[in-house]
């Protein structure tokens, strides 16, 4: 239950969620463990066996681009292999995650032993000044998992609906099923909300339901920036980065992808995070009353050492024909861990959150904060932890006490 007597909550008027693409926690933030032992990152000794049986150690040599090409497989069967280490036939019902199948999975794509080792690469903090600074200056989640051991669209569905309606793939063709999106709930309850895609040429990944049927919910990233500058930010904003390198259809030049999806340059994503952060941070009318959550939709096939835990079943079952594995999936286990950072001047520096979260925590949090009692939600969302309670400092941090960024 959210403590509404907290000063930060009494001031809170806006929640902004930025969902990036396809990077694991250890890949982006794992190196922070050396300096901040309370962050559950890498010791540097974690290994996976490669296809020749050689143990390969994680390596701090992640590159901004061109290293993870081809795009590491993160469809359900591949993630099953990554998590369970290779038991994909005649499965033992008592099998347990061991996080030892990442190299084998990446080998399957090109059959190059040397290239398969790159899936164990991770960034040093100096290469990701934005994400690592925000993680250590505000709150980082040690246990934020993707909702499904599978690809983007079913995972993003959990952020919008608290469920993927039984889907474990990219074929998410649902519409007006029993659970409403968080946006529809908020509008019905008289609250303001907007999904901001980057531009029309990048658009939204939430096509089948929301873009098709609720176009009024959408705006561009420029609309987000304008809303911030005019102090017209909705109570809840969900931001999608630019998913493609493309020419601006209006002749404005090159627009580089900022989603950090391999093989897009990670630096463009860092700069995009800065744009979102600065739009809030540099507006004294927004900064004291806005919380920003940065989360990644799924791990993108990249190594993480934390075993995804079991979770409340979702009430759906994906049959083997859908999972691509010998077994059905009961939505009773989370996907691989992803980076997630919560930002507010009411959060203590160096906060590390150890409770378990997943993307259903997003609609769960917004529902708790803005709507209250609301029963028509998935079992997963009802069971999901909410995160605004970490905005819990008795006084607001001063401007000089909060990080500032400047894009080159």
């Amino acid at each position: 239950m959210l403590d509404r007597t907290l000063p930060g909550i009494q001031n809170l008027k806006h929640v902004v969620v930025l969902m990036m693409e396809n990077r694991s926690f250890d890949h982006m933030l794992g190196a922070l463990h050396t300096k901040y032992p309370q962050i559950d990152g890498l010791t540097g000794h974690e290994t996976n066996l490669d296809s020749t049986g050689e143990p390969i150690t994680v390596s701090p040599d992640a590159e901004y681009q061109s290293q993870l090409d081809p795009d590491p497989d993160h469809h359900f069967p591949a993630v099953d292999l990554q998590i369970f280490g290779g038991v994909t036939t005649a499965q033992n019902p008592n099998r347990a995650p061991n996080m030892e199948g990442f190299v084998k999975s990446y080998f399957n794509q090109q059959h190059s032993v040397a290239h398969s080792h790159k899936i164990l690469s991770y960034f040093t903090p100096d290469k990701l000044p934005v994400l690592t600074t925000l993680a250590t200056e505000f709150a980082v989640f040690n246990r934020w998992f993707s909702s499904i051991p599978g690809p983007t669209l079913c995972n993003r569905a959990f952020a919008h609906y608290g469920t993927s309606f039984g889907q474990v793939s990219m074929d998410v063709f649902y519409w007006n099923k029993q659970y409403k999106s968080i946006y529809e709930r908020l509008v019905a309850a008289g609250h303001s909300t907007q999904l901001y895609y980057f531009d029309q040429a990048s658009s939204s990944l939430e096509v089948i339901n929301l873009l098709q049927n609720q176009p009024s919910l959408f705006g561009t990233f420029q609309d987000f920036l304008d809303a911030c500058s005019r102090n017209k930010l909705p109570e809840y904003s969900f931001i999608e980065p630019n998913y493609t390198d493309h020419e601006d259809p209006n002749g404005g030049g090159e627009l580089i992808a900022s989603d950090q999806h391999p093989d897009h340059d990670v630096r463009a994503g860092e700069q995009f995070i800065v744009k979102v952060y600065n739009a809030i941070r540099n507006n004294p009318k927004l900064w004291p009353n806005t919380a920003i959550l940065i989360a990644y939709d799924e791990h993108g096939g990249i190594y993480d050492h934390v075993k995804p835990p079991a979770c409340t079943p979702d009430g759906f079952v994906a049959q083997p024909s859908a999972t691509g594995t010998p077994d059905p999936f009961h939505f009773d286990r989370l996907g691989v861990r992803v980076p997630a950072v919560l930002i507010s001047p009411w959060i203590a520096r160096g906060t590390v959150i150890n409770e378990t979260f997943e993307h259903a925590s997003i609609p769960a949090t917004l529902t708790e904060f803005l709507i209250g009692e609301y029963s028509q939600r998935s079992p997963r969302e009802i069971a999901a932890n909410t995160f605004l309670g970490y905005i819990n400092q008795p006084t607001m941090r001063s401007n000089s006490d909060c990080p500032a960024f400047k894009n080159d």
Binding site: I208, H246, K275, F405
Partner: protein
Amino acid sequence: MDAIRVPAPPKQAFNMQRPMSDLIKSQIKHLKHVEYRLPQELRDTLPKHRIITENDAAIYIAAMTGLLLNRPAAPKVVKMPVKKSRTPVSTSSTRTLSLAASAEKKIASKSSRARKKKAASKKRTTPASVKRKKS
């Protein structure tokens, strides 16, 4: 606290000829699914190029998104007889969300249509703060 400088990607990081990822292929697949439900006269306005690269995808996605934002009615409407009148046809489908239905009512007014067109034109404007000049 001094501002932390954040490096930009180099020019060569941009590659709009990069083949589409599975993610973008799925986005296209979903948009095609929606496109096939649209009236032929709307579909005729869409670009017909082969979609191989990220920029190919962006051109189609921009057109489809613009069409979805600006079309006069929800796709359910196309299952009903098409009237020659320019007045948008309303739907009585119980599956249509109340929000969409209220949006249709607004669109039915001529002045509202004009406002929406103006707003859509604004949306097409490229975010100035995210542009990178062509080299």
